[in-house]
Amino acid sequence: MSSTVQQFPPFREPQPAHDDHGHAEHHEPGFWSKYIFSTDHKVIGIQYGFTSLCFLLFGFFLMLLMRWQIAHPGVPVPLLGPLLEKVLGQPAAGGIISPELYNSFGAMHGTIMVFLGVVPLAFAAFGNYVVPLMIGAPDMCFPRVNMASFHAYFLGGAVMVVSFFIPGGAAQAGWTSYSPLATTIPTDGQAFWLIGMVLLITSSLLGAVNFIATIIQLRAPGMTWMRLPWFVWAQFVTAFILLLAFPPLEAAGVLQLMDNLAGTSFFLPTGLAVGGQLVDRSGGGSPLLWQHLFWFLGHPEVYVLILPAMGIVIEVIANNTRKPIWGYKSLVYSVLAVGFLSFIVWAHHMYLTGMGQKIATFFQATTMIISIPSVIILTCMFLSLWGGSIRINTPMLFALGFLPMFGIGGLTGLPLGLAACDLLLHDTYYIIAHFHYVVAPGTIFALFAGVYFWFPKITGRKMNEFWGRVHFWCSLAFMNIVFMPMFLQGIKGMLRRMSNGGELYSVAKVPGAIDALPGNIIQLNGVILWAAVCLGIAQIPFIINLFWSISHGEKVGDNPWRATTLDWQTPTPPPHGNFTEEQVIEHGPYEYSVPGATEDFTPQGGPAKHPTAHSHTSADH
């Protein structure tokens, strides 16, 4: 394909005064209705984005504390130790993280990162801000439901955070909350966790209904299914996953809440003993039932984390290679296949529960099958680079970084999908390394790409390019130094949930024991700790850049990336109602460098030529 890029540096549009677009006849709403009780999808998107970024940072700090404890078991946390003791009391006596506290940090790190950080950022924040713009809609279908969704999310987050400060501390049974552990640990933190989860699930359900209805109902005239930007497809499938996979976990959450508060035995087996004492319960329940209901959500959740991120990557790559995305239709069918298959692979998390061979074979087969469409998506991304005149900027760097990182994460997952290897690797650091490669340098890199990419649409200014690149290269380096050694630790048999970082099983402690952890494996804990600290420091340029650029970034026009999709055809920032005129769509999503066109990008649509265009005759479906 011949590339016809005409000018490399972004062209400058004349700067229109964007002060009061479309607000001419509206009076300016007050603070509460504008920022707290807003029904505007863009404000809600920003609310989600800001809150979830804060939670990501909070979850990261929990992880740093845990890494300290792993690398230096029993040594008081430097700097933060006294603060911890003051805030959390006994569990952090002397600034030392007790095993109970370590457990609750572990459980809450997972919960916060997944349910309060990445999902709200990837799905709710980007989805809310971008999807209605991309499909040419004035807002979401149900703006007030949208607001309720954010409030439920915020409340759920508040419940989770509050649970740290109750007697007994936050939930300690891991982010998976396996019963009977989750019921027998003597803390109310688990009840808080469950109530928080019910709120978060409610929020996701409201969001999912809204997204699906919006994408189906509010596409502008001419925006047929096969003209949807792939990002919208990814959000569409994600919304369906949330809609149908989350409720069983909500059901399970209610049942476990009954176990914890009403004394039932849904997940408690007959004859359960804790500390040598028979538990005063009727018994008759099934711990495995919890695992099934949990993983029925838990596995599709992985795709909730990754699909919107892939959507962002596709948008950024198409925009910066200045050519159509390779295999748009394959991408669409692949994402549908992934969404469908994600519902029937869940029990590959449970090989170690003593499954029979027939059912294990079934789940191994579906697990291997689902990797096919995933690989097709990744392949399309790689092939899209071929022959493009690639424009390197911060969003593109993060998108390019996503490709190998997600590749590593995905491919290391294959051995885990096969029962024979999984029995060996289950619950070791190998697992941690695998899914963090998918989510941390994978999804979160894509989310960074999205932040840098859409920032100019939100604020009318670009984020600083130099510090963006510093942020990228440092993050890339330290992410890998953090997670790569964990593969090694895991293969050597280091278990994932021990608060002393495997010290008790080291050659130093038990010399001569078969499979004791060699000293160099234990030493890697120190490497990971300092790499993680550096990773944290590497985020400082991003945080400063984000806030500084709101008021001091380079001013740009409505379409600084010279993109084709509709989100860039609105005024900046988009006014209430998004489009000043009704849009009519006449082109596919990625018509870059069309031969014969005057520019190297052909926008999907523009204002209707006939103002009376109310004819939706375009053949949808």
Partner: protein, 107 residues
């Protein structure tokens, strides 16, 4: 409104509802009768029969009261997927719970 092509009269709805209520009355009685009757040795056959009648009952409510019988294709599509995943959830879980290497289910 989607149903505007149909003749709209309150009487026709009342007639429809009368029929539906009569059938619900019959099916409910049939379920109760089955429950107390002596059919088969244990509960298995009875449970199957009762559930079958319940499905008929549910079909009535969904089909006529929720006018699902004359609904749009899009809604059918959504419901078919939902039903499929529901069956997957229940079926695969049941299968997993009953497929243990030793032959004795662990609960």
């Amino acid at each position: 409104m989607s149903e505007s092509e149909k003749p709209v009269s309150l009487q026709s709805y009342i007639r429809l509802c009368g029929v539906v209520f009569l059938v619900v009355l019959c099916t409910t009685s049939a379920m109760i009768a089955t429950s107390f009757a002596h059919i088969g040795d244990g509960w298995t056959l009875k449970v199957a029969l009762i559930l079958a009648i319940a499905v008929v009952n549910a079909f009535l409510v969904a089909g006529y009261l929720m006018h699902l019988l004359s609904e749009k294709k899009l809604i059918y599509t959504v419901l078919v997927f939902t039903l499929f995943f529901f069956i997957g959830l229940m079926g695969l879980t049941m299968w997993a719970m009953n497929d243990f290497p030793t032959g004795t289910a662990v609960h």
